[in-house]
Amino acid sequence: MSTFDASTLIYVIQIVIGGLLVGIGVHFVPVGGAPAAMAQATGVGTGTVQLATGSGLTGLISAGLMMSVTDNILLIVLSGAVGAMIMMDVTMIVGNWVYIYGVGVPPVAAKVDYDPITKDPQPPYISPGTVGHGVPTVSFVSGTIGGLMGGAGGSLIYYALMNINGVSGLSAFFAIGIFVVNAVIASYNIQGTIEGFHDPKFKRIPRAVKACFIATLIIGIFAVLIHGGA
């Protein structure tokens, strides 16, 4: 077992911050779930965990790549954040192509009357019987912020763990483990679907912050005690 000293405490704090970033980041990602897969709700048509894991893993890869050339925490976290943002944006834009050119619906948000960013009116474009479809501008921007936070959080966890055990495979999968737990807790908080930061459900963030904080703290304490076999 690794010894528990001041630097370990800092790593635990880093892991907790990482977990919180993931938990909050999920609230920004436009997750539409099954209804969105049928173009009947705004957002990308899949679950939170799939979206968060996809962008989180890409973030980990880019963070890991950066970590192989430098140990500057800022560069590593930024690299992870950019990786996750790219993945999230690619998912949203390709999803939009399918919605626009395949299904034939305009991207529209149902939870607001005017898009907070473009100021475009939304209700006229909502197909009857649906609650929006596609990824409108506000959701896209929100999703990009979500990718940033998720990627930064994931790579912060990875960075902390790498400094403790030095085994990339172990650190990466622990990071994924902690990442998934926080993403699922956050997605329970939004009951599976959210449009972005303009969605009324976004106001539930404090509850997720509390839950993710406690959960990450407990799991993080165990994670930092695992050595890399050296």
Binding site: M1, G33, A34, P35, G47, T48, V49, Q50, T53, V167, G169, L170, F173, F174, I176, G177, I178, F179, V180, V181, A183, V184, I185, S187, Y188, N189, Q191, G192, T193, R207, A208, K210, A211, I214, A215, I218, I219, F222, A223, L225, I226, H227, G228, G229
Partner: protein, 268 residues
């Protein structure tokens, strides 16, 4: 989205299933370890695979119990969370407790599960009465599947061997995702008002067999061809038997669907 995913009555009691799952999983892991050590071979790795299937059964039943409430996030999320908690706990147990590692790891995973379930009910206010108990089973099942499949690959429990054979080689990725799918797929494929426990659990045996088969392929280079082929062979037989059984149950349960014939004129 709060549509309850349905689910029929349980024929097999949850306590019984949890006991069998825990007992079978731990027994499989230790038998594989001890027999491999005594004989100095890797032929008994398949026993850990059987343990993994027992753990998958326990996990799949837990998934069906909680998802019947309609958790709103899709079935996969809870399976992935089980593996997330299970992985950290399993590795902690193996790293600090040596041979007692699996038991410690599984116990900690169950603790994580109970705790996260409590957070979900108390702070997130999901108000699902079985959440704590189910996540406890799921965390334990996740840790057990990870340890059992890792033992299939490395042939024993030792943390150093586990690092060398499972982590450094990257097989942990296969263990993680194959184990998660084995636990979440059975209910995900069967959910609906006509879901029956036996059909879901039989599919769990089949997905567990597939996960065991994947671990068997991974063990080709680690425990040697003999042990790996034995694991794969047994896994393939289990999968085939379970899948045929599952197919029979699908036909049994679908007998309730009756043809109505063509719609008559003006029927629409």
């Amino acid at each position: 989205m709060s549509v309850a995913a349905g689910g029929g009555a349980s024929k097999i009691d949850k306590t019984k299933l949890t006991m069998y799952g825990l007992g079978g999983g731990i027994l499989g892991i230790y038998l594989a370890h001890v027999l491999n050590m005594i004989t100095g071979t890797g032929y008994f790795s398949f026993l850990a695979g059987l343990g993994a299937i027992a753990a998958v059964l326990m996990g799949a039943d837990a998934v069906r119990r909680v998802c019947a409430y309609g958790i709103g996030t899709g079935v996969p999320s809870i399976g992935m969370m089980a593996m997330g908690m299970g992985l950290v706990a399993a590795m902690f147990g193996l790293a600090v407790a040596g041979v007692a590692g699996p038991i410690i790891g599984i116990a900690i995973a169950m603790g994580f599960g109970y705790f996260v379930g409590m957070l979900a009910n108390k702070i997130i206010k999901m108000n699902i009465p079985v959440m704590e108990e189910v996540l406890m089973s799921l965390g334990g099942a996740g840790a057990m599947v990870i340890i059992a499949l890792s033992v299939v690959i490395s042939g024993q429990i030792g943390y150093q061997d586990m690092l060398k054979d499972v982590i450094f080689t990257g097989y942990i990725a296969i263990v993680f995702i194959a184990g998660a799918l084995a636990i979440l797929q059975p209910f995900n494929a069967n959910l609906g008002p006509d879901e029956t426990q036996d059909r879901t659990l039989v599919l769990a045996i089949s997905t567990g067999g597939l996960a065991m088969f994947a671990a068997g392929i991974a063990s080709l280079v680690t425990v040697g061809v003999g042990g790996a082929v034995l694991t794969m062979l047994i896994a393939a037989v289990i999968w085939l038997k379970a899948f045929l059984w599952y197919f029979k149950l699908v036909k049994r349960d679908s007998a309730g669907v009756i043809g109505t014939g063509l719609l008559h004129e003006g029927g629409l």
